[in-house]
């Protein structure tokens, strides 16, 4: 009886530690390939055959069927410029210029990594859909409540994140992903 408890306990503890450590290593917070621009983080080995065991598992969980960096660079922000986690209870001003790519978009995702349901069926803003100021730059409000001008809807009571996609990024960005210019994310108000 004592023997069973001894060996059983060892195996149960081992399984628990194994699962726990795997879970820890594969957390979304670990999705950080090493480059960041303000709150925007990117990795460059997504989808490539050189990806290690952990990257491959993280990509399967959070970015399955991604493309390599020559084709697309993905930057994800989970916080605003001040480092505070993005919350659907707040309104954010996202302001920037064209991203250095052939085409680009910025999409909001819920905590489950799927698009966020909303009455307007708007999930992103992009090079060819965003309304611009006179000098070409854009101002987008990210909020659970309808906004004047560019509006990217999110859900009240839930966290969210945003992914910026660079399709065929410019050579300079490919060479130094940390040097890309990405929009600022500034909290305007919260409920």
């Amino acid at each position: 009886m004592k023997k069973i408890a001894y060996w059983g306990g060892m195996i149960v503890l081992g399984i628990a530690l194994g699962l726990g450590s795997a879970r820890m290593m594969l957390g979304l917070g670990q999705l950080d390939g090493g480059y960041s621009v303000g709150p925007w983080k990117t990795g460059t080995d997504f989808g490539s055959a050189s990806a290690g065991m952990y990257t491959r598992a993280r990509v399967a969980l959070y970015g399955l069927l991604a493309l390599d960096k020559k084709e697309t660079l993905y930057y994800t922000a989970q916080t605003d410029d001040s480092g505070a986690p993005l919350s659907g209870n707040c309104t954010y001003v996202v302001e920037g210029k064209d991203l250095a790519a052939r085409w680009w978009s910025v999409t909001a995702y819920g905590p489950d990594s799927f698009l966020i349901p909303n009455e307007a069926n708007i999930y992103s803003f992009a090079k060819t859909t965003v309304k611009r100021e006179a000098d070409g730059h854009y101002i987008v409000r990210v909020s659970a409540e309808r906004q004047q001008g560019n509006w990217l809807p999110v859900k009240a009571g839930e966290s969210f994140d945003m992914t910026a996609r660079f399709y065929n990024p410019d050579q300079s960005v490919q060479a130094a992903p940390g040097s890309a210019k990405l929009p600022h994310i500034v909290k305007e108000s919260c409920k």
Partner: protein, 177 residues
């Protein structure tokens, strides 16, 4: 004392094995699940055109709502497959994925020699057949199962109908019929 040490070391070995097994198996299991989910409404070695992603699209995480995807589940066990993809503005790409999630090939409209992307996919170990069409890219797949994903940027909702017509002309089929 020895019993305690054995317990700790034993638990650590089990933990290590479970850890590696989970991390290793995860992408394979997820990819298999995704392929069978998509295959629900697609035949093997044939393109299926997916509708634009909305919040109702919950098969693959983090879909892009600005892309029109076409997907072809690959099975190379019976020989090479040829993919022919008409191009649309402002961006079209053909990406091949193995059953372990690796992206082993990608070309976009800028790389295309003509008005379409033309790719012949060979099973691992096979040599290129003599009748490979001129101008086609030839690539060897690391796994027999996998998928082809075509991405087209949809510039605006108004651009979608014409683009949808174009993508339906794409083909994914066994090279030798």
């Amino acid at each position: 004392m020895k019993r305690v040490l054995t317990f700790v070391v034993g638990a650590a070995i089990v933990a290590g094995a479970v850890h590696v097994a989970v991390v290793w198996a995860l992408p394979r299991v997820i990819m298999t699940k995704v392929m069978s989910a998509v295959a629900g409404d697609a035949k093997v070695n044939e393109f299926a055109e997916l509708p634009l992603a909305t919040s109702a699209a919950r098969r693959v995480v983090r879909p892009s709502p600005d892309l029109a995807y076409s997907i072809c589940i690959l099975d190379l066990s019976k020989g090479p497959v040829r993919v022919q993809v008409p191009l649309t503005e402002p961006y079209t790409s053909v990406a091949l994925y193995s059953s372990t999630t690796d992206n082993y090939f990608v070309r976009n409209d800028r790389d295309a020699k003509g008005r379409e992307l033309d790719v012949v996919i060979l099973p691992k170990g096979a040599s290129a057949p003599a009748d490979v069409p001129t101008g086609a890219d030839v690539v060897t797949a690391p796994t027999a199962k996998g998928l082809v994903l075509v991405r087209r940027v949809v510039e605006s909702p108004e651009a979608f109908p014409a683009l949808d017509e174009a993508r339906k002309r794409g083909t994914c089929a066994s090279l030798h019929g």
